[in-house]
């Protein structure tokens, strides 16, 4: 196995590599491929997890232990989870994996922004079919210490053996051989403002608008629902700003001095101030359109505005699922005689 078997940089991967780099990793690679500004980073591939599992299996069964528990037996699941989590979190990483990881981390610090990193679980496509797969959304922010990075990679893996994860897999009868996880390690943006945007209206399913939600500081406050974000609705094509809701943003997430993030109160004068300018809104709209075109379907996108440069960076993009699942029959079809369309206005009563 050659060098790089366990690590892949964002610019080397795309959506087609999801089996090895997971949904999140594949999507970040794909964003780079689409020409978007994405903070640099790498993915610890599923192969690394499999290597760890191999060494663990040599000591005592892992997969068989999970397969043996019954989903209804909460005590059994809990005991199994406790044991396996501890084993994963305390296991020595295989030498090659550890070496590749340190080289990659050094390269990220040297060649990158020098910023602390975020470590996130990146479930493989099969697992992520349900985006809500319990326990697989682990995210560790603003990590400075290299040793902690390694620990957090292990934490992500261990989350596969959380009580929720095990119960869920057992309930679905999901084969344990196919359980794998990649982990994303990415330079963080010290965000002045961050948030999410939808290329399809969350409220009406309209494809012609971009809904942007944002708040001061790191995006975790918005994603975690700890602040009511400002909200805008823009015409995707026209750029018309149809809705501007500026909220009272009480707190923001900022990097903590010792690593991690903390919630702090927003100064009175900034609370009701819009967290994005009209120019930034238009730039986000343009990015949303480009990303949607690149993927060919509606997207939910996470973004951040860098505090220092003011540049907009993309942190995540995933397909919109709610409305896409609801799309049913076309609202109108071609008519043999185009004039028959007129009967919808002239010939029918909405209320008989």
């Amino acid at each position: 196995m050659g060098v790089g078997a366990h690590i892949a940089w964002f610019d080397e991967i795309g959506l087609g590599d999801r089996a090895q780099v997971g949904g999140k990793g594949g999507s970040l690679g794909e964003l780079k491929r689409a020409g978007m500004a994405v903070p640099p980073g790498y993915v610890v591939k599923t192969r690394a997890f499999e290597r760890l599992l191999e060494s663990l299996e040599r000591e005592a069964p892992v997969r068989a232990a999970v397969a043996a528990v019954s989903p209804g037996d909460l005590a059994g699941v809990t005991a199994c989870s406790r044991a396996l989590r501890r084993r994963v979190e305390e296991a020595e990483l295989p030498g090659e994996v550890l070496e590749e990881l340190s080289i990659a981390q050094e390269r990220l610090v040297r060649g990158g922004t020098g910023q602390p990193v975020a470590v996130r679980s990146s479930a493989t496509t099969e697992d992520a079919a349900e985006a809500s797969f319990a326990g697989l959304q682990d995210t560790y922010l603003w990590i400075k210490d290299p040793a902690e990075i390694i620990q957090r990679v292990r934490s992500c893996w261990a989350s596969l053996y959380s009580v929720e994860s095990i119960s869920y897999r057992r309930k679905l009868g999901f084969p344990e051989e196919r359980v794998a996880m990649a982990v994303v390690v990415q330079s963080m943006v010290d965000a002045r403002t961050a948030g999410v945007m939808f290329t399809r209206s969350p409220t009406t399913g309209d494809r012609s608008v971009v809904t942007i939600e944002g708040a001061w500081g790191l995006g975790s406050a918005v994603v975690g629902g700890e602040v009511t974000p400002d909200r805008w609705v823009l015409g995707k094509i026209t750029g018309e700003i149809a809705v501007r809701e500026i909220s009272d943003k009480l707190i923001e997430h900022v990097p903590a001095a010792r690593g991690g993030v903390e919630a702090v109160a927003v100064a009175e004068e900034r609370r009701r101030m819009p967290c994005l300018s009209d120019a930034e809104l238009q730039e986000l709209r343009t990015l949303a359109r480009r990303i949607e075109r690149h993927y060919g379907c509606a997207q939910d996108i996470e973004w951040a505005v860098d505090r220092g440069s003011g540049a907009i960076l993309l942190l995540q993009s995933r397909p919109e699922t709610v409305w896409s699942a609801r799309d049913a029959a076309p609202i109108a079809k071609r008519e043999e005689d185009p004039l028959m369309h007129l009967m919808s206005i002239f010939g029918t009563r909405r209320c008989p």
Binding site: S201, T204, G205, D206, R207, S208, V209, V233, G235, K236, I237, T238, E240, I241, A242, V243, D327, P330, I331, A332, K333, R334, E335, P338, L339, H341, L342, M343, S344, I345, F346, G347, T348, R349, R350, C351, P352
Partner: protein
Amino acid sequence: MVPGTERAQAAYPYYMQFTAADDQRFWFYNSMHFPEPMSAFDMVTAEAAYCALGSSTTRVHCIPTTLGIDYRIINGRVYIGGNAVTDPGEIARRTGEFQQRAFYYYGNWERLYAQWREKMLALIRDAQSLPKLELPEFEPLSNVHSGRGIATNHALLDTYQRTLEGYFRMWHHHFEFLLLGYGAYMTFFAFCKKAFPEISDQTIARMVAGIEAEIFRPDQEVRRLARRAVELGVDDEFKEGRTPQAIMAALETRGAAGRGWLDELATSRDPWFNINVGDGFYHYHRSWNDDLSMPFAGLPGYIAAVRAGESLERPIEKLQAERRQLIQDYRELLGSEQERQAYDQMIGLAHRVFPYVEGHKFYCEHWYTNLFFNKIREFGALLAAHGFFAREDDVFQLTHYELKAAIIDLMTAWSNGSPPRGPEHWPQIVAERRAAIAEWAKESTPPALGPVPDVIDDPAIVMLWGITRESLDRWLRASSDVASRELRGFAASSGVVEGPACVVKSVEEIGRVRKGDILVCQITNPTWAPIFQKIAGAVSDIGGSMSHAAIVAREFGLPAVVGTGTATSRIKDGQRIRVDGGRGVVTLLS
């Protein structure tokens, strides 16, 4: 009814008076077309228009779900009510008729529309060739020697009847295509609203609106005149605030160049200055030709732009390319190929019919209506000269039936050699009616009368007035909520701007508008285009997102809110306001 105005109210014909039976029906105030109390004569516009509209919907094209519009008048205000067809059997029967009639029109649109233009221009020529009104002391000798056998006084009756007949006829032309045109637009509109629930009305309007519609032409003529003034070197005469009369007198003294410009003006005036400063439904909506202050108000600004080297040409190709792109971009967003094909069919149909929807107004509401009211004004001058009343425009206080009586009175007096009876009869009636209109104008007008239906889906009402249950609720709310600092209307042209309001209640005040003002007026109209270059935004009492005001505002990229209902009464001149044209909200700041 306002006390003391009973006799003025009784002057309107019996068939437009409310009766007890009308209480059971839903009526709404047609503030869009008739925002001010109607004088006795001006009611002819409602009569002629509804007569022709109903003919089209009920009997010519047979719209399956609706007949015509009923109307009533109270306090000078026109209330209208729909006549929905609800019986499914009847709808089915009318559908068969509709498809034989309307579909034929759609199928032969271009040929029939070309024919329409010919008819309309012939009608205009007829109106222009009506004889001047004269009552010579003796019949001209030539008439006697030629054995004409009909004395000149008969020409008064003949001319009056032809004038009136032409007006009723014009309204039939007006509605020949209109509902069909709106229907095709509404079909596309409804599809867009379903496909894109949050799309703004103005975006749909931009996809459909024509680029080279007649309605842009008068303003383009003003721009042309600005360019010619600079080219001829007489541009120094056009100073802000100077009257058209003073400017034209000065140009007379500027030799060939001055006369050259006046010739250019004459070219523009016929026909493009036959455009009213209102919607043409009131006798006092005069045209640019009657009052040059509107086009002249635009000249200094355009001249400054020409001097600064700006191009005043509308970038037709660019605008067309933008429209194509907009249509293409929305098409791509549709969810399926099926929907894209339906979209293509519907926008194709809308584009096909829309030149009529946009173009007819110049010929009907502007050019013809102007000729009509000016002819009636001539009768007013003649009657005033014979002492029937003091001023020529007093004639508009008589109904068209009463005017015929007054004309016959004058004809009789001329033949008998006795004085006419009118001078004893009319002055006090005219004074009484003028006073009543002044009273009615002060009175607030309920937007609707009678039981409000749950759903308003009469296509004629929805198409022509944009009245839905929601808009009605909004109006009802607005009239009860005067304490609010916000006014709501249609989002006509997006953008946000703050500035001082210039509240313009009549065209004579147009000279007061200064650069950077936000224009607040009852109705904006394409004729106001020349001052759009000066203003920072526009707010109107009346109008929808497809109104010409909205189209012009979008063309100039100005934030505009139309159809607020109350802007000219709630906003004070000079008050600071904020216009959010994307949301349709006006905020009073000071």
